[in-house]
Amino acid sequence: MKNKMRVLWLSAIACNGNTHSFLNYPFLEQFLDDFEFIYHPVIDSHYTLEDIVSKEIPCDILLIEGAISKEFQRADVSVVDIIEKYSKIVQKIVTVGTCATFGGIFRESGYSETSGLHFDQDKPSEKFNDLLDKTISVSGCPVHPEVLVNTLYAIKKSAVLKLDNFLRPKEFYAYTIHNGCTRNEYFEYKVDNHQFGELEGCMFYDHGFQAPFTHGSCNKILWNEVNSKTRAGLSCMGCTEPTFPKQNLFSTKKNMAIPENLPVGVGKRVYLTLAGISKAFKIDRLEKKLFDD
C-alpha cells in the first residue's frame, strides 16, 4: 500500500471557504492518492471528530482553518487544546487561509482573544511561539487551492520552502497580485475608465484595487486554471494580507485625488513623478473598448 501522508484538517472559527476552495483543486483524485485525511469536516475520513479529540491519532500534517480562540470548541474540546495535542506529533502545521494566519474577518466573531495562530493581524502573537519552527502559513480568503496543495507536496518531498515574515512560502507570496495582471498597460498609462466586470481599465484609482500592495500569485497561478478577480473585472481586495478585510473594499481611499496606498516599495515622490508623466499621454487605443463595434 502506498505510503500516504496523514493529514488532520481542523476547522476552527471558519466559514469553510477554504474547504470549498480546496474541493476545486483540479487534481483532487491524484492528491488523495498521496495524502489521506485522518479527519476532514466534509470529506470522508477514517476517524470521527470525537476520535480525534478523545484519542491521539497518528498524523503528519496539521491543517488549521479559521481563526483561533481558547473559547471555541470542537466536540466539546477547545481548539487550542486540540492544536496543542496534535502539534506535538506532526511534522508540520499549515495555517490555511487568512483567518488561521492573521485572524481575518473572524477576529470580529465575539469569541475572546481571537487571532491567527501566530499573528493578530500583523502583530506577532506569542501564544504558540514553540510552534513557529513547524508552521507554514498559506493566507488568502480563501486560500488558492494550488498554493495549499503545492505546499503540502513540498512538505511531502521534504523540500525546503523559504518563508516571508508571516511564514508564507516566498514561492507564492514574494510576488504581488499586480504581477501578471492583464491590465498592466492601463496601470502604466493611468487609464481608469473601468466598470465592474469590464475587460478595460485599471481599477487602482477608483475601485479599491489592492493588488500592487498585496502578496500572492493569483495572476500567475490562475483560479480554476482560467481566471482571477482582476481578469474578470473585479478589484483585488487584498485578501492575503494581515489587514484583510478593510472597509469600503470597492472604493480607493484617496487624499486630494492621490491614492493613500501606493505600490509596495515605491516612494510617494517617485510614484507621483512617474504618474504625472504617464498621465500626460492620451493613448487612444487604451481609451477605447477592446472590442469596439
Binding site: 487624499n255 486630494m256 492621490i258 510617494k268 507621483l272 513623478t273 504625472g276 508623466i277 499621454f281
Partner: protein
C-alpha cells in the same frame, strides 16, 4: 539658460530670436545651434529649469516637520520671493509657458515639464489631507485655487497695479488660502 530666460521673459517668445540670445551670451549663432537645435527646444528646457528650481524649494518645505498651515505660508513666501528676486522665472511661467501653449505641445504634454514643481504641490496637498488639516476634494480645484491666486497676484504686481510689495500680502493670502482649503 538664465540669459535666454531673461530675454524671453522681457521680450516675449516670438520677439526673441536665437541671434538675440547668442549676442547676450557673446556666442556665435552657429555655436548656439550646437547647444539648442531650435528656439522651441530651448523654451522647453527653460520651463524644466524653472520647475526644478521651484520644486527643490518646495521639497525643502515639504520635508520640514511643521504644520500644514505653516507649510502653506512658506510656499507662498517662496513663490513671492522668487517673483521678487527672480521675476523672470515667474514671468516666464505666466507669460511664455501658459501663454504660448503651441510651443510646448510636443515634449511638454500635460504637466511633464513642470513635474518637479507639481509633484511637490501634490505631496503638500496629500499630506495635508492625510493628517486631517486639509479637506478632501478634487486635486485641480485645490491646485487652481492655490496657484491661480498666487499667479494672479504676481501678474498684478508685474502690471504695476498692486499698491504694495508682494510680501505685504503674505499674511492675508496665507489666511485666505488655508481657510479655503482647510477642514476648519
Amino acid at each position: 539658460m538664465q540669459s535666454a530666460l531673461e530675454l524671453f521673459a522681457s521680450k516675449g517668445f516670438y520677439s526673441t530670436t536665437i541671434p538675440d540670445i547668442a549676442l547676450s551670451l557673446k556666442m556665435s549663432v552657429g555655436n548656439m545651434y550646437n547647444y539648442f537645435k531650435s528656439k522651441d527646444i530651448l523654451a522647453r528646457e527653460i520651463i524644466k529649469y524653472i520647475s526644478v528650481y521651484l520644486g527643490e524649494k518646495l521639497r525643502e518645505i515639504n520635508e520640514e516637520d511643521i504644520s500644514t498651515k505653516e507649510k502653506t505660508r512658506k510656499i507662498i513666501e517662496v513663490y513671492f520671493k522668487t517673483a521678487s528676486l527672480k521675476p523672470e522665472m515667474i514671468d516666464y511661467f505666466l507669460r511664455i509657458y501658459l501663454s504660448n501653449r503651441e510651443v510646448f505641445k510636443d515634449g511638454c504634454e500635460g504637466m511633464i515639464c513642470v513635474n518637479e514643481f507639481v509633484t511637490e504641490i501634490m505631496i503638500y496637498f496629500e499630506e495635508g489631507v492625510k493628517c486631517g488639516d486639509l479637506r478632501e476634494q478634487d486635486f485641480f480645484s485645490a491646485f487652481g485655487l492655490f496657484m491661480g491666486y498666487l499667479g494672479g497676484m504676481v501678474f498684478l504686481k508685474g502690471e504695476n497695479i498692486l499698491p504694495k510689495d508682494l510680501d505685504d500680502y503674505v499674511d492675508d493670502i496665507a489666511f485666505n488660502i488655508y481657510k479655503a482649503l482647510s477642514t476648519e
